[in-house]
Structure formats: C-alpha cells, structure tokens
Symmetry: C2
Subunit: 239 residues, 2 copies
C-alpha cells in the first residue's frame, strides 16, 4: 500500500528528480527520465513505487474526484513513477509498444473513486459528463497505455450525503464483491494499438467503430461496459 499523504509523497516532477543529469544545461523531462530509469539513477522514492507495481498482480487507485480528475498528489505519482523506458518509450522504441503492449502486461488495475456529486450529474446526459469519459485520460491514457488491464471504475457517488449506517454498509459490500471478482470480471475492452484496429498512423480503421469519433470509439464493445456499469452491485447508492 502506498498512502501518498502519509508518505508525504513529492508531487511535483522537477529537476530534483534527476540528481545526475544527462544534460545539465537544458532540462528535458523525457530525456532525463529515460536516462535516470535506464541507468538506475532515479530517486529512491520513485524506484520503490515502480517495484511495488512490478511485484503486484493488481493495482487499485483510490482517490476522491477533485475537479473531475485525480488530486494533485496522485497526479504527481503518475508524473514521476511512470518513467520513460518503463511506462512510455517502452524498450526505447518511441510509441511502438503502448495501448495493449507494455511493461505491465498481465497486471490488472481498477479505480476506486469517491465522488461528491449525485449520480444523475454523471448520467449519460448528465451535466458533468459520464464518469467513464471523464476518467478516460486515466483508464485508457495512463493505465491501458502501459498494458495494465483496466476494469470499470467502482465509484461511490454522492458521498457527502451518505448515511454512515446504510449507504456505507452497502458501499463496502459492493466494493468487496468487486475486489473478489477482480480476476474474473471482464475488463474495459480497449482496442490494442497493434491488434489491427489502427492500421495506419494510429488512426482507427474505417472498418471498426464505423461513423464514430471520440473517446468511446476506442472501446471495442461499449455496450458490455455500460451493462456492467448497471450491475446492481456496480456502484451505489442503489435503491
């Protein structure tokens, strides 16, 4: 477990991340990240977090939704731990291995998100936008990108209005069931970059997601995800 607040995690990715620079003049994060990772010159806090993920079968990211994204401290975990050579630029091959090929093949990931607003605000036509699209930069862009198999998020909605007895009990029961099924449930079926759906320049083939544009075109079977999202133990509150 990494309790980022308790660890006083350094959120800001900056020159202090590179005590031994490849180029002491100009600070290129990509170049220095690759240099530090590949030559084992990372700061120890970053290396320890990478080792935790490497040792894990599944990773759960628990956070409150702040401004429709992660809190800064967790964003800083991704900024710093997802190094060049490991998370992007895998095998030092540019964008060749990503979205379904990467260092974390076979590992599972799930977001456990605590949301202040009511479920209606995040409905398919709710004013905030649907949660699965708001979280796409994380699920698709920050997890599946590295070949972490990503499961539909398990949100707790309307948390400030939760009753400690009933709704918290239900939330715990729903969460327990989700975790128990983490190695059985179907993941979000994101399309693999090198699986044939992107034959040229990483643009969808005209044969798939016909007529669709936007984030959800990159999910092979959005209906299965939406149905899973309506499973009675999927989220709460449920009546």
């Amino acid at each position: 477990m990494s309790d980022l607040y308790a660890m006083r995690w350094k959120a800001v990715f900056d020159e202090d991340d590179f005590p031994e620079r490849a180029d002491s003049g100009r600070l290129s994060f990509v170049e220095e990240s690759g240099n530090a990772y590949l030559n084992a010159r990372q700061t120890s806090d970053v290396a320890v977090e990478q080792q935790k993920v490497i040792a894990a079968d599944a990773v759960i990211f628990q956070f409150p939704l702040w401004w429709y994204s992660m809190p800064a401290v967790m964003k800083g975990w991704f900024d710093r731990v997802w190094a060049y050579g490991l998370a992007y630029g895998y095998k030092n091959a540019g964008n060749k291995y990503r979205y379904g090929e990467g260092a974390f093949k076979g590992k599972r990931a799930m977001l456990s998100v605590v949301v202040g607003g009511p479920e209606a605000d995040y409905a398919p036509r709710g004013i905030n936008g649907p949660l699965d699209e708001l979280l796409f930069p994380i699920t698709h862009g920050s997890l599946f990108f590295l070949d972490l198999t990503c499961f539909p998020p398990t949100p707790c909605m309307a948390v400030p209005h939760a009753s400690p007895s009933k709704t918290c009990w239900l939330a715990k029961a729903a969460w327990r069931l989700r975790v128990e099924r983490l190695f059985e449930d179907a993941p979000i079926p994101f399309r693999a970059q090198n699986g044939g759906d992107y034959p040229e320049r990483h643009i969808l083939s005209s044969q798939v997601a016909v007529g669709q544009t936007g984030l959800l075109a990159h999910i092979a079977d959005i209906e299965s995800v939406r149905q899973a999202a309506h499973h009675p133990f999927r989220g709460w509150p449920f009546s």
Copy 2:
C-alpha cells in the same frame, strides 16, 4: 504571471491549508475550504492567486500535456485555489450556480497546451482521443464551471520534433494571433446549467442534442468549434 515552478507552488492540498480549522477532529476539505474562504482564513499563497484571477480580464493556462492532463503542480493550483464559496458552492448555494453562472462571469480563459505526440494521435479517430474531449475536465469542469468563458485550446503538437527555426516561428505567430483575438473569437459554446437545456436534475432536455450522449452533448454547436479548430492559424504544425 504565476510561474508555479519558480514560485515553488505547494501542489498538495492538505491539512496545512487550514491553519485554523472549523473541525479539528475530522478533516473535510469542502467544509474547511468554505470556512477558510468565507472567514478570510486561507493561506496567503491561495488568497493571492484568487486575487490575481479576480483582477484579470483573461487567464491563460500554459502547460505541457502529461498523461493527458495537467502536470501535478498545476492540478494542485486548481485543487487549492478553486475554493468552496468562490469556485464551487458559490454563494454557499450548493450546485445552484455553476456552468454559466459563477464568481468569474465575464472573464475569459484559454489553455495553451504543449503536446509531445503528433496531431494524428489526437485526430477525431486517433488513438489517444481528441484533445477537446481529453481536456473537457479542465475546459468544462474546471473553467466554465466557474463561469469563465472558455476558448478552444491552442495546442502546440509534436513538440519534440519541432525545428527551432521554422515550427517555433510558426507556433509563435499562431499564438500571437490567438491572443490578439481573445476578446473577439467565439468561445466554446458550452450549455449553461440554468439556461433551459437542463430542465430537471441537471440532465439534458430531450429537446436538445437529440440522441447524443457523452461530453460533447454539452457543447451547443460542436461544428463551430471543430471548424475553428481547423482554422489555419489554430494550431500547428500546419502545412
């Protein structure tokens, strides 16, 4: 100007943000943020940033796209500066005033985003997803939410492959033009929460965006935005 790195901006929103707590037992960020803002008990760094925005006619957010979002240091600016009573819970009225009504009415905002990947990756059917949807949690959820009139982002794409002479010159020219037109160009036509499009429970009326779901249903005229995005001076590189 607020250069967050140079200022060594405190990114992590934590108990140190509330030197005088309303409740010294349980830390509720919503409650303490409201208490600190409404009783002028915020830390001075946060109060100074709020005053800068209040004094501004337009605010430009300049950042590199890291993991399809802002770097942690800027996320921490939003987490800390966008206080309850000012940015959300405006007039202490819950969700009544947001998305088109709020403390920052009449102010303008624009994102200036530097992107490593090539433009094709962010095309309407490109593998990363379109930039306007990836940035929706910021443009819609963190700016228009507060009634900042938000303009289409001006990205610089494929930056690691830019030639200092030609592409940087073009980027500067494009940027200059965008800034000159900041008080003339058309904003992203996000739908106002209290303008009639959300008659009940903040869900879109069946009369608007018929058959649409998802993020872009909250933009009244997506075609105008997409056309603006293809303006020759909108982004670069352009041939």
